[in-house]
Amino acid sequence: MSEVLIRADHLARRYDVRRGMFSAKATVKAVADASLTVSQGRTLAIVGESGCGKSTLARLLAMIERPSDGKLVITGSDVSDGDPAKVRALRQTVQMVFQNPYGSLNPRQKIGAALEEPLAITTNLPAAERRARANDMLAKVGLRPEHYHRYPHMFSGGQRQRIAIARALMPRPKVLVLDEPVSALDVSIRAQVLNLLADLKAEFGLTYVIISHDLAVVRHVADDLMIMYLGRVVESGASAAIFAAPKHPYTQALLSATPVADPRAKRNRIRLEGELPSPISPPSGCAFHPRCRFANDRCRTEQPAATISAGVTVACHAVAEGRI
């Protein structure tokens, strides 16, 4: 068993929101209850639709936000309380790449300076050494040395995502949290960036946590898979096992709703009725029950507990009772 880098137990993150001058404050449970472990060298993919809390979870794992509840252990030290000293020490271990490469680079900072900044903050390497490392990293992500002196607006979307990845790798992290790393990119560029991520993972022995809604991408890259719905994990386990035989009704619907690029493929689409409920007032019992074909009275009142069978964890009454 390889080393466990991130362990999260019943992680939760709540936000207070104002809903106008006279109404009471409401609480959004962006992440209601999520547990996971990430082991060295694996790729964990977190999948779900908008509002399911996958990006919030990514920000918790990258220690950008503090969990409201639960326990988060990163490489053996407990950072649940968000102690600034501990978090600062671990920042270099977990780095994050954001979805929008246009928004995540400072437009007035040259690429070289952007790459060197993490080193200037966290190390006391001399300037020449920082520069050498930045040039090294540019080459590793497939950019040319002359790009060192350029500004972000002079690059295409794919190149900018390469720069964002290079910058995240500068402090030599063990874990890279990638929030929708390729969803803003065109098909041909997406393939280039996915290949680059695979190369870098092999070269630096990295561990990835990838947030995505694109199941074709996830199927290609992930070892482990976690599907979220309204702040809770509905199914998690080995990616191949879940793609082969999804158990939770939501996972089944999500997989069948994804268009397949093959006109001869047999379509057996499970149509989900209705929309995602608001996380301010999630449905009682199982959050998925208003859209579920298998819902009964127990689903409407009682929160399903996670059960493990054949290495896959599923939170569903219907599965536990053998109704599916």
Partner: protein, 322 residues
């Protein structure tokens, strides 16, 4: 006779850094009841060609074409008044960002009834009844209550349903959907695509679907046009395109999909989509093409016959390669 017949349509933009040809000699022949997908990456000009048909391009654009007719009427010579009678009625369009396409200051009911008031001779009660009927047909529950709501009170999927209701309100002969599901979640995307296909079958209108998602193409379209750097590089029926792509770009695009990956690496296309100043002179795809030779770099490629996917290529793939 095709419903929409376009020959050699080009669109040039005047930019601060000189002229830019976004669309270069494209042809469309769309029959009534046809479902055509236009596929391409960003900057391939797939939206601009359709905006030219709608007359929605800014003044910096110059549209030239040998022929551009809709339902027998010449769209090049049409007066602005006559065009306004046509678009929104016989040709309708829905856009990528449903929330941004609706006016936030008016209720959805007002906005649906506005197009009915413009194009149909209906009194206000008949318009309200028709609006309720339209919302029901696009699958919106409690249509009477929704009519009184503003766009910000609806989800993205609901707003796209409202946009579709507005588009089909006057029973158009042609519906152009520009990336209708790109901004939506997977399960909502499935709902909207099913709705569009069902409405198309029901009404017999022609549907043009502009998208970059090969999965969406495979599941909805009958014919496909692949666009690259403003040119149509391949035109085929959907089964043929996926089974045996003829243009190297189409083949590379399909091979780059993660679901077609063999092993850990994806077959990526080197380089980037050309911009305003680095378009190749002869074959636009030659700088990124593995099969390109000197002829590709110097001589404009010919249009191949229909059995070769009408590929714009000197050396179309002979089949079996995918």
């Amino acid at each position: 006779m095709p419903l929409l017949d376009i020959r050699a349509l080009s669109v040039d933009f005047t930019t601060a850094r000189g002229p830019f040809r976004a669309v270069d000699h494209v042809d469309f022949a769309i029959d009534p009841g046809d479902v055509l997908a236009v596929v391409g990456e960003s900057g391939s000009g797939k939206s601009v060609a359709m905006l030219a048909v709608m007359g929605l391009l800014p003044w910096t654009a110059t549209v030239t074409a040998d022929r551009m007719t809709f339902d027998g009427r010449d769209l090049m010579a049409i007066t602005p008044e006559a065009r306004r009678k046509l678009i929104g009625k016989d040709i309708a369009m829905i856009f990528q960002e449903p929330v941004a396409s609706l006016n936030p200051c008016f209720t959805v009911g007002f906005q649906i009834e506005e197009s009915l008031a413009t194009h149909m001779a209906l009194d206000s009660q008949a318009r309200r009844a028709r609006a309720v009927e339209l919302l029901t047909s696009v699958g919106i529950p409690e249509p009477e209550r929704r009519l009184g709501q503003f766009p910000h009170q609806l989800s993205g999927g609901m707003c796209q349903r409202v946009m579709i209701a507005m588009a089909i309100s006057c029973a158009p002969k042609l519906l152009i959907a520009d990336e209708p599901t790109t901004a939506l979640d997977v399960t909502i995307q499935a709902q909207i695509l099913d709705l569009l296909v069902a409405l198309q079958k029901q009404t017999g209108m022609a549907l043009v679907l502009i998208t970059h998602d090969m999965g969406v193409v495979a599941e909805t379209a009958r014919r496909v046009v692949v666009q690259y750097a403003g040119e149509q590089v391949e035109r085929q029926v959907v089964d043929g395109l996926f089974a045996s792509p003829r243009h190297p770009y189409t083949a590379a695009l399909l091979a780059a999909l993660p679901e077609h990956a063999k092993g850990a690496r994806l077959a990526s296309i080197p380089g980037v989509v050309p911009g305003q100043f680095d378009k190749a002179d002869a074959c636009r795809f030659a700088p990124r093409c593995a099969r390109a030779d000197d002829k590709c770099r110097t001589v404009k490629p010919p249009r191949q016959p229909a059995n070769l996917g009408e590929a714009l290529c000197h050396y179309p793939l002979s089949g079996g390669a995918a």
